[in-house]
Symmetry: C2
Subunit: 157 residues, 2 copies
């Protein structure tokens, strides 16, 4: 991947607040809009939800998921030039009190202040997404298969 | 659904140009960003792609899919108030020359002028998405299960 594409990938991962989460439901794909945060080296992503949310019930049955992080549509002439990355991986609930929980909670509340009160609600929790690989489209005719190592490398950009 | 929510649903379907497409890949959900158009009564949606695109190869194996149409993030304080609709359904290739093909092609090119040349490329084609149902989140605490009939009804808003 060229340096400019690496910068674009790092930029959309850092600066996009919402993503599409794909889960399996009744043996079909289902997509939900979610808020997310990631850590500095892009090695894990985190979502926060009610355990009764349908997409969380999906993940409890099958942890395989996909995340699409796409550049916000700015009305440009050709939307195919919008950068986006599809990440495939698996999701697991984070335990309140496990190492890193306080840091992720802090990052999440900083980005989404309205969520603070929900951390006091026992039905809500953080889920960790572990990326296995994915596909990054930097724009027209610029597509790359990516791995966890790619994410970690571009996080230095 | 209240009248205001119906208007919001009609608005995001009409005024959003890109969506997240969920397909099945290796028994896991996969998400791709796509451009789409819909007809006046919201009864069918259309995408246009190369038959060698991975998401099209997914649909050739399993037609079950999901579409997420989400309001563009405008940087508001709480992104959970962004309206979005998840539509589940199935996709099938549209045959060049079948009834309606010319109209859909015209609508697609009007919305995405850069695609015009690709209609001359035999590897590219239109796919029809037939909605079976879905879930509409109009904002905080406002969620609705929707059917094909709901889509048709709100298209009159």
């Amino acid at each position: 991947m060229d340096a400019q594409s690496e910068k674009i990938l790092a930029h959309i991962i850092r600066n996009t607040r919402i993503a599409a989460l794909g889960t399996l439901r009744d043996e079909a794909p289902h997509i939900t809009m979610i808020q997310f945060v990631t850590v500095q080296d892009f090695s894990t992503f985190y979502i926060f939800a009610n355990r009764l949310d349908p997409h969380i019930m999906d993940l409890q049955k099958n942890k395989l998921m996909s995340l699409l992080i796409a550049e916000t549509d700015d009305g440009r002439a050709d939307p195919r030039t919008l950068a986006r990355v599809s990440i495939r991986g698996s999701a697991e609930p984070m335990q309140n009190g496990e190492p890193g929980f306080t840091l992720i909670k802090k990052m999440y509340i900083e980005r989404f202040p309205a969520s603070e009160a929900l951390f006091k609600n026992a039905d809500f929790g953080l889920w960790r997404i572990n990326p296995k690989g994915g596909r990054f489209i930097a724009g027209l005719e610029k597509a790359y298969n990516i791995s966890l190592e790619t994410l970690q490398k571009v996080s230095e950009r």
